[in-house]
Symmetry: C3
Subunit: 315 residues, 3 copies
């Protein structure tokens, strides 16, 4: 789709006929992608963008780099939402090749296999599992009953995904209009799960809005865990029951999160960090190998001290 | 069923042969419904009831209005539970018309379509979805794989319901007997979902005990959210991941609830209220457009102040 | 499998050809089972074990009782994990008798019925339900759509299990190697659910690592509740929405847990205890019939007092 055609839909004036292949963030865009700036705090990224074009308010025009076309508008985030629909995938593909299933793999009854999907060798795909279009599953992986894997997601080798878990459902994204409507931001990315990952029952891992939500090798995820769009989990992370991660948060390798703990969005958590049960992470954690607890979060020893002070307060 | 017949099952003496069509609350009952008073604090509603009859302890007899028959008993809530079974629906209807599916709607394999159900035009109902008896779905709605919609529920136009979500499951209701048994209160209501509603994966919305649990137009619900029976969500409410609402709570329009926040039951939350992540609402919020945080809940600014006091306390 | 054969796989020297039938804890092992001691605090149980053999560090050798063979190793927990695989069940049985279904039971379309499973009379098993190998279901039980019941689990009479709930999924268990790998501890136990139990939608109950996770008669569980492996719920316990129980915790009879409350693992909670919403139980509760709140947990009245002190602190 050309930038010209996109601009027409967005009701922005632009005559470039450069081919646009998708949407992306300021920093990750390549020279065929469209990006946006809504929040002033990302202006430092604008200067460095390589995007073909950027949806932007007039006031930031001076900061747009030379190689990038400015698409000036009052509400860039709403225009982004409208543009996301132009790049949205079909919910179900009507044509394509039948799913390829490698040797020694068991497919139970009532399994849905999408177009252009592929399943490696020695897997077990159990009844009621939904394997959507373009999904790729490696070798020796077990998909338990009633798991749903949305289109374009990639699952590695030696994984176990328990019943009812949903991989690749839409991230929670929309733009608010002034008259109280929410315009869906189509989640055109996917989920990539590495090798040797086990995911418990009824957990949910959202697909990325752009690019991929990533679960690295060796990760262990328990039941009823919620991982929002564009999170990245490093090698060997452990998420226990009912943990929740908001969008675009990165856990570096071997982060351990206790039951019902949670993070806000757009954070980074240093390697080998431990978050105690119920801990609530609202800021980036830079120092590795520390133990944290509480909400708001504090050093685990400080949290224990706080509890004893509260006990005294009550006497 | 006549009141006489019901009374016989409940072992209460009553000779009226008025036709009773169902159960309801004191305030919502019409002149063909049976109601109850268990908790003294609802006595103000008793005076205004229009119910045909009321299950009631002897001590409150004087407050029963003229047009309403008093069914005197020691344990009205247990009698209500027993009566609810008399009005319970079949889990599965044995007869009825085949589901009607309008034009340009895709029904994938392994979808269950109940009796007397109807699905509008241009919908996609994906594999493993369960559409029970009497369910009605509007136009342009997408039901993702392995969604379960219980009987009698109504879904509007332009909705998206993600995998594994359950609509219309039984509310959590039972009466405790003196010898430690729980008698199920049959949940004979339904769920009504408006237009342009998106619900994430593995969320649960309970059917009402009487009448309807209501999700209004434009609502956005994230993953793993729990909405108990008889809640009402106004237009444009936003519930993020792992939020929990207890029974009979009303969120007026454009209430926003952060991740893992929750409410107690039987509350009202004013329009445009924002509850921060983990906030716990235990009292009705009357003033609109305010921001709250913490548990117990406090003004968001006060909560920030509290955190800084705690930090000082630790020094 | 003989102890000799097992030892060979574990690379431990042992010549006994005693037949080993499974793994178990120090206290629960019988004279044909293999056990382990990793954590010093269980040394008091070692003295009383009746196990055929125990995986143990050299330093604890003196405490091993006479009838038990010591299998000396540096990392007993890792050896246990490796041994658990030797006793793991097939994910899907290839042979066995067809499921037996008693009279007046309805099996809807797209239900999976495993080998050697049995379903009692007057049940309703709804579309998309997965009833794995060796599962036994009693009489008058309703299994709603898209429920998954893993192999070997037992469900009683008069139960109701709502959509999307998963019974018997693997507990969250693995041993950490020094080079950052997790070795799965196969969860070779099951879940046993008594009579007259109702479980809400999208809840998860993990199978035991050894023996059984137990849900006793009359228990009521709401939606999105997580019960980890080897928990035991006494008669009449009530768990409301989004409660989480960590592994091996015992709730005695009639414990009530409010919304989003949780417990740590390996605790006991006395009969008729009430935990308020959001309460976090981190220690065993010995005194029955008390009400608790907060995190860390305190007497409910103390918690109310604390709130009023915090209010004063803010003035």
């Amino acid at each position: 789709m050309t930038l010209n055609e996109i601009s027409k839909v967005l009701e922005i004036n632009c005559k470039s006929n450069i081919e646009i292949t998708g949407l992306n963030t300021l920093l990750d865009s390549n020279s065929n992608e469209l990006t946006f700036l809504e929040n002033k705090k990302y202006i430092k990224d604008l200067v460095n963008t390589k995007a073909a074009a950027v949806l932007i308010k007039k006031e930031f025009l001076a900061e747009v780099p030379k190689g990038t076309i400015a698409l000036i508008c009052d509400e860039p985030y709403i225009k982004l939402a409208l543009a996301s629909k132009l790049f949205s995938q079909n919910v179900v593909e009507e044509s394509g090749k039948d799913c390829v299933v490698d040797k020694d793999t068991t497919i139970q009854p009532n399994v849905y296999l999408g177009k252009n999907a592929s399943i490696g060798s020695n897997c077990i795909i159990m009844a009621g599992a939904f394997i959507a279009d373009n999904v790729s599953i490696g070798n020796n992986t077990i998909i338990y009953p009633n798991v749903s894997i949305y289109r374009d997601c990639i699952i590695g080798n030696d994984c176990i995904i328990h019943s009812g878990t949903v991989i690749g459902c839409d991230g929670f994204g929309f733009a608010n209009t002034k008259d109280g409507k929410y315009i869906k931001i189509y989640q055109n990315g996917n989920v990539i799960i590495g090798n040797d990952v086990e995911i418990g029952a009824n957990s949910t891992i959202d697909r990325a809005v752009f690019k991929s939500t990533i679960i690295s090798n060796g990760v262990r995820i328990d039941n009823l865990v919620h991982i929002a769009h564009n999170c990245k989990l490093g090698v060997g992370c452990i998420l226990t029951g009912q943990v929740g991660l908001a969008g675009s948060t990165t856990l570096h390798e071997y982060v351990v999160m206790g039951g019902q703990s949670a993070t806000a969005g757009h954070l980074e958590i240093a390697p080998f960090t431990t978050i105690a049960a119920r801990g609530g992470v609202t800021k980036t954690i830079k120092e590795p190998k520390k133990q944290w607890a509480g909400f708001p979060l504090m050093d685990h020893k400080t949290w224990l001290k706080l509890q004893s002070k509260i006990t005294k307060l009550l006497k």
